[in-house]
């Protein structure tokens, strides 16, 4: 039984590792790469938004910090992108420390708004400061030389996804995860069992920001061109939330399911309707909130219970 629990993970990561052998089409491979990046983002958001229940709509700030670090440190000091990534992760953690210690004092809509404001301040700075080249954006170095640079970057992204996934599995079962869920459901109860909500939320945000920043750095390395509207747009924050919610917030597989479904659906839609993606995301968000607040994973769970319940009785 306990070994069977690992089966889906083994299959999933096995498929991703062997991707070039069973999926030869470069376009499709690119979509899988996007799924991987979005899954990392969804998983990272899920720690704060799902487990801790803090609706952050400013997570793009950490993505932008990761992406801009790669570009900026390369331009000014000729750092290689790996060093830039490391710097981005450290800077994102510092930003998370600052933003978190300010915003986590607020609750409900005030918290949500303050996360947006913090991210928007960063976007506007990137848009107006001279060393970020404003709206023009920046050129970022690739992580690998050609040939096969994309494939190598893909293999660089997989460990990050695995790390994020493992972190979630651990969170789901550990004291830390229970503490986050307690905070989500009732801070008074949480404090009554000795939990310091501010500290636990901050821990979750640090993990989350580090992952998002690393994903942002990867994004910069792959697209090699970034700007305020691509790596600091508020829409991307909403997208991270949508991925986690669509799949199932505070579940291990939710963000991955969400990333797969959303990316594939958006891609399929794009062939028919060029400019429909914003509308599509909005519609999905409305539908999920109204009809599927537990996400797609919750349907699967219900099905599974219905199937196994009689069998369990018979046994």
């Amino acid at each position: 039984m306990s070994r069977a629990r690992f089966l889906p993970a083994v299959v999933f990561f096995g498929l991703l590792l062997t991707l070039p052998w069973w999926l030869r089409d470069a376009y499709l491979q690119q979509i899988v790469f996007r799924v991987v990046i979005f899954a990392i983002l969804g998983i990272a958001w899920n720690l704060v938004g799902g487990y801790a229940g803090q609706l952050s709509l400013g997570h793009v700030a950490y993505f932008g910090i990761g992406a801009y670090s790669v570009a900026l440190f390369h331009e000014t000091w000729d750092w290689n992108p790996w060093l830039g990534t490391l710097a981005g992760v450290v800077l994102a953690c510092l930003a998370a420390l600052l933003i978190g210690s300010l915003t986590f004092r607020l609750r409900g809509p005030y918290f949500v708004l303050s996360t947006i404001a913090a991210a928007e301040i960063l976007r506007l700075l990137a848009l107006n400061l001279s060393f970020t080249h404003g709206a023009i954006g920046m050129i970022a170095p690739g992580f690998f030389e050609e040939p096969n640079g994309d494939r190598k970057t893909y293999y660089a992204a997989l460990p990050l996804l695995f790390l994020a996934f493992a972190l979630t599995v651990w969170t789901h079962r550990s004291r830390f995860g229970y503490y986050l869920r307690a905070i989500r459901e009732n801070e008074d109860t949480a404090m009554a069992v000795g939990i310091n909500p501010a500290v636990e939320k901050l821990k979750a945000l640090l993990f989350s920001a580090a992952l998002v920043a690393a994903a942002g750095a990867l994004y910069a390395g792959v697209f090699q061109f970034i700007g305020p509207d691509s790596v600091l747009a508020i829409d991307m924050s909403v997208q991270m939330a949508l991925i986690a919610m669509l799949g199932g917030a505070a579940t291990v597989w939710g963000p991955i399911v969400g990333a797969v479904v959303l990316t594939v659906a958006a891609e399929a839609l794009k062939t028919y309707l060029e400019r429909a993606h914003t509308f599509f995301y909005g519609l999905l968000l409305v539908l999920v909130v109204l009809f599927l607040p537990g996400g797609l994973v919750s349907i699967a769970k219900q099905r599974w219970f219905r199937r196994t319940a009689p069998r369990a009785q018979a046994a």
């Binding site: 005030y110 708004l113 404001a117 301040i121 508020i234 599509f280 909005g282 519609l283 968000l285 109204l290």
Partner: protein, 287 residues
């Protein structure tokens, strides 16, 4: 003198801000709901006014009342179809729902009208008038006057009509209101629709002095939050005053620093007020 000019410009914009923010304050006060689609409704209002002008030659100045009415109906419909279902649920879901509605509206506008920038040119928009040594754009001036009329009539409506009193009753004491025979749901719907109408009407007033495109609403979204927080969340009069303050702050920022940093200052101000004076600049009670 130039600083005074900056303040005057700020006041003119601030009047329109006040109208926008008042709608948001109303919805927050009555329903404890932060409408993340507020800016999107403003954008819809601008498009309605735009097509009213280009297709039917309806001047946005008197057309803003029509736009407000149209958006009122739209707000009603959105309330009954969607918002109603999440009332009483966590703010987490409420916020995500209104954010989803915002994306739908923006996305629909992109599909229907493309991302192009559109604007109308009223003859008025080229004229400047003098106020002592200061001067101002006449179109801004007219928009300001109409916005102030809108804010004032809204205020009087809230104060002196039966419905207005019921709305304030719910805002002040949602628990007790049903006991006094007030139908909270109905009131919530009306308030939401009023809020949307304010955004739409303000959109019409912005059209003569601004361009419209599908994403034009999102800065206004955040701006009205700033204003509502400045004025004390949920206080309609506070929001009116907050609008003027924000307008003047922006005017002065543009003058002393740079046009590009007005929004940065907006948001820093917002965070500072939330963290240091969460009851707003004028509120007395701690939340």
């Amino acid at each position: 003198m130039a600083a005074l000019q900056a303040i005057l410009n700020g006041i003119l914009v601030g009047g329109i801000y006040a109208l926008i923010a008042m709608g948001m304050a109303l919805v927050f006060g009555v329903m404890r709901l932060v409408n993340f689609a507020h800016g999107a409704f403003l954008m819809v209002g601008m498009y309605v006014a735009y097509f009213g002008y280009t297709l039917f030659h309806i001047n946005p100045y008197w057309g803003c009342a029509l736009v407000g009415a149209a958006l009122f109906m739209m707000g009603m419909a959105v309330y009954w179809l969607l918002i109603r279902r999440v009332m009483g649920q966590s703010d987490f879901l409420q916020i995500l729902l209104t954010e989803g509605i915002a994306l739908c509206l923006v996305g629909a506008a992109q599909l229907l009208f493309t991302g192009d920038y559109r604007s109308i040119s009223l003859p008025l928009a080229d004229k400047t008038a003098n106020l002592g040594p200061l001067n101002f754009n006449v179109a801004y001036g007219v928009s300001f006057v109409i916005a102030v009329l809108g804010v004032t009539s809204m205020y009087l409506y809230m104060k002196y009509t039966e419905m207005g009193r019921a709305i304030r009753g719910v805002a002040q004491n949602p628990g007790v209101a049903p006991l006094m025979g007030i139908r909270v749901r109905w009131i919530s719907g009306i308030s939401f629709a009023f809020g949307v109408a304010c955004a739409g009407g303000a959109g019409a007033l912005l059209l003569p002095v601004f361009y419209v495109n599908p994403t034009i609403g999102s800065p206004y979204n955040l701006k009205s939050f700033v204003i509502v927080v400045l004025g004390g969340m949920g206080s309609v009069e506070g929001a009116a005053l907050g609008g003027l303050i924000l307008g003047v702050t922006e005017g002065l920022t543009a003058y002393y620093w740079s046009d590009s940093y007005t929004q940065v200052v907006d948001f820093v101000l917002f965070l500072a007020v939330l963290l240091l004076r969460p009851q707003g600049l004028f509120g007395k009670k701690a939340p």
